[in-house]
């Protein structure tokens, strides 16, 4: 049998390839099954779940920007229990890793959701302390280092079975500080980055394009910021990093690996064209073969600095 050059391992869990679809850009996974074979994906990070159903922000919620988009969905989700009942059984039929992204308005809610998820049949937890779109919680946790420490260590203490990924906010002066705190607080891996806080105004109406005024900037526009933060994080912590931000093709994936990623997540590109993750997987395979690289993981952190 031909070796699988794309296989990677994160916290002891094997992924058949390092391409994971990013939270909030891939629904509960099932939405895309009409368009692509989701069993080909390394993994899926589902839309951020909270304890109870959340209806999100008012419309409008999205707007395109130069090489990117702003969103202020407001973490709309069906709640962790409905996810487990309605979505997970369907999702489990596919041969791919399931990462559950989650959040809470309080530390107690974070812990409670984590405990529920810890005992169901998923692969990893991804704690979102960085969504800039809700007033309570969210941004406050991810941009305040004391809160970051508190929420990560509280959650970690309360889960036994699943590795915990902490997803970092880029809206901070020093990402290294936050990465270190997460590692010290028990994070098993880091994913970076979430969206940059941005804003866009309709000059005709003079109103913000988003009802929430500000929103999260994603897409190719933010790639240079994301690569920089992955690189800084890689130099700071020993736990694996899942690189995220503006990836649209296999070259971007290689760039994130060289900067220090063990795997990557694809976000906005799923909107641009749902076939992009599959195309990336195929292109990566070809690339590794042509370059005679045995394992993609050998590229992690392979940056050359003079």
């Amino acid at each position: 049998m031909a070796k699988n050059r794309l296989e990677v391992e994160i916290c002891g869990i094997k992924f058949k390839n390092p391409i994971i679809t990013a939270s909030g850009t891939f629904g509960y996974g099932i939405e895309y099954s009409r368009f692509i074979d989701i069993s080909k994906l390394g993994g899926i990070s589902v839309k951020g779940l909270s304890l109870n159903e959340v209806s999100g922000n008012m419309m409008p919620r999205i707007i395109e920007t130069p090489a990117g988009m702003l969103n202020a969905i407001g973490l709309q989700n069906i709640g962790v229990n409905r996810f487990i009942e309605e979505k997970l059984p369907i999702l489990k039929k596919y041969d791919t890793r399931i990462i559950v992204n989650f959040w809470g308005k309080t530390i107690e809610e974070y812990v409670e959701v984590a405990k529920i998820l810890d005992s169901v049949d998923i692969d990893m937890l991804e704690i979102n302390i960085s969504c800039p779109n809700i007033k309570e919680g969210g941004i406050a946790f991810g941009t305040d280092h004391k809160m970051t420490e508190k929420v990560v260590s509280s959650v970690k203490k309360n889960i036994k079975n699943k590795p915990l990924i902490v997803k970092l906010s880029p809206n901070v002066t020093d990402i290294k500080l936050f990465a270190k705190i997460c590692e010290d607080s028990g994070a098993d891996a880091i994913s970076a980055i979430n969206t940059l806080l941005g804003m866009s105004i309709d000059i005709e109406t003079k109103k913000p394009h988003l009802s929430n005024i500000t929103g999260g900037l994603s897409g190719p526009a933010i790639k240079p910021v994301a690569v920089r933060m992955v690189y800084e994080t890689y130099k700071t912590v020993k736990i694996p990093i899942i690189g995220i931000g503006g990836i649209i093709n296999y070259k971007d994936v290689i760039e994130f690996f060289i900067a220090g990623s063990t795997a990557v997540q694809i976000g906005t590109a799923n909107f641009v064209d749902p076939e992009i993750p599959i195309k990336i997987i195929n292109d990566l395979k070809t690339y590794l073969e042509n370059k005679n690289i045995d394992k993609i993981s050998s590229l992690t952190g392979s940056i050359k600095i003079n």
Binding site: T25, F35, G56, M58, M59, I62, G219
Partner: protein, 255 residues
Amino acid sequence: MTGKIVFNKKLSDKYYYMKIESPEFVKNAKPGQFFMLKTQSFDYLVDPLLRRPFGVCDIEEDCFTILYTLVGKGTYLLSNLQTSTEISFSNPLGNGFSIVKNKNVALVGGGVGIAPLLYLSKALKDNNNSITLYYGGKSIGDIHLLEYFENTCDYIKISTEDGSLGEKALITDIITNFDYDIVYTCGPKPMMKNVVSVFQDKVENIEVSLDERMACGLGACLGCIIYVKEGDNIVQKRCCVEGPVFDGNKVVWEL
């Protein structure tokens, strides 16, 4: 999937009509459905980043057509594409209109909102309905494709705001007959709202085709929410999956 441009004609100042060959797309497309279209031909270009939603305007053998207006950069790029260019688009998406049989129906279209009503009118004609088309625009430059509608509709009433074609009136002002089994409408939001209020209590079924900013077009981003009444509640629907066609009587226009 991809298809080849058969033609891409300028109809008036802002209106274009494009025909694309794609047997695969045509096979599954229903009236009222839409699709996401890539306006950039080169994969590595990221401006415009997102695909753009367009309604299926007509189907002719292996081809479908798009009636579109110039809005921003995506539609500008579209308007520059030459015959034979290969372009890329999604499957037909969304729910589409209901196709009734042997009924008396009205179509109300405003401006580029006329687009999805053409293919609809064909399907309705094939099902032996009597069809009245109400078609409004700001000016004569907004009224197009009449030669096609003449083949499918029994009555056609036209109005423009400046009187350059048909009556000088808003389209909803020239509706005097309310004796329809079902009304289908697509156009600017204020027009559709008016259409609903004009026919409300008089016609049971009003299907409106709504238009929201879309990032994914397939139900994942939650960017295209429409509010509708469900019993005593107001619930969220995704325009791209549960729409773009909604029950006009249930739509909550302003929240």
